[in-house]
Amino acid sequence: MKIAVAGKGGAGKTTVSGTIARELARRGHTVLALDADTNPMLGISLGVGPEETYRLLAVRQGLDDGTVEHQESVEALMEAFGTDAPDGVRLVVALREAVAEASCSCCGVNPPQLLRELEAKGRTIVCDLEAGIGAIVKRGQVDLVLVVAEPSVKSIDVARRAAGTASGADGDGPEVIVIANRVRDEADLEAIEAALGDYEIVVVPEDPAIMQADREGRAPIDADPDSPAVKVLLGLAERLGREPVPA
């Protein structure tokens, strides 16, 4: 199964990706967490800590200084630019900031290509996409797109476009589930429903525990697994793990 997570920067993509990846792993899935953001911070939400997260960022930049070898296959990339996160999740940083010439797997693959090439057989891939809708996913690349929206005009707008692009003009794209994040009240939910009412919406309440985990650089699933927001995400992961989306 391949899951991609999209949305505006700061909407909560990385928190959603990290928490779902960890919970799927706890439920017996072999999980590959792919950080396809040029600003890769998934390590924080997976619980590998700030220092290791920063090291991974620099690993990709090491290609430029010649301290890291180029990789010729997508699978070798998983080995060279990854780290082991708790619960057996393999975290891989998929992109680097500057790509001058597209010549090898580690330099020239964009997230859609990467998702297409990676074999999902026997493992579950959770891909944290770059902010915005620049890195869109289409049919055949993933089975499910989680679109994260917080109740701000801009975030909802990004989510609406990301969801529309993912599901395709004819609705023949992957399944889309909208995650309404940081919802405080009915009005917040109504704003999101008004733009994204065509999709299934999972409501994640505003939760200080998430902010606190971010401040401490810890995974929400470790910092406060019983907090309301984490519980919703664990419930979603349980469901996704139980009913695999048809490939």
Partner: protein, 296 residues
Amino acid sequence: MAAGAAKPYPQFWGTVGMRPARRRPGVVADVDWPPGERPLRVVVVGKGGAGKSVIAGTMARLLARRGRRVLALDTDTMPGLALSLGIEAPATPPLVDAVDKAPHGCWRLKKGVGPVRAVQRFSTLAPDGVRVLEVGDHPTIDVKSVTPSVQAFYQVIHGLPEAKALQAWTMVGDHPAGPRQTVHDWAPYADTLLIVAEPTWKSALTARRLAEIARHRDAAVIVVGSKVRSAADVERLERMLGERVAATVPADDAVAGCDRLGVALIDHAPSSPAVRAIDGLVEGLVQGRLAQVATP
């Protein structure tokens, strides 16, 4: 890349007698500006959601109120600066009409469209007289159609440093989330990088990375703490960054409220703590007294 750089610029808002601009980057620095009147050239960078657009938009408005001619530049293909400035985002990418396809297939600025004319014709007027030039918007499905505008925008901003008619203009840019646009030098007009960071690890590590990238560039780097709730937050952020925080914008419900409504903070909560803090930031920039990050 900077097409039209060697062409004579047309008259521009009362500016007369323009001569062909020669390639002379950093032309602003060559002029002896009276104290406090040196045009600011700032780009706001940082992690998504840190508050870049609201800071950039409010700064632009406040600078215009101080009598400066201000050009605001939105490099994000999901434009957000317009909302913070108090105008609607454009329906179509504004610069689409500024380019045509060269015989070799690349998009280039049309004959006669230099950076100055591009700003003159394709920017939008925002309150307080701020001019806004936006890269424009991704339509929902056909992502390709924003490409000409992106190409045009890139070529225009690379012509800005040497655009003599805009020499006295203050410029405030808003970048999308993450370091990519900074790596690729999407703000060649800027002599100051304002890194906006919340007191969270994700935001701080992004800021640390941006500060590293900025060191390779001849620009002042200033860190602004955003959504800060206490002095302890500032200390925490400085520890996470390993850098000094020069100014702060407090956590303010008014900002979240305006985000939810899609309205400009400066219009809807003009006396909010966040606007007051951004005014302080502007004052610090004008006076040139904000601490820069340490250079190695």
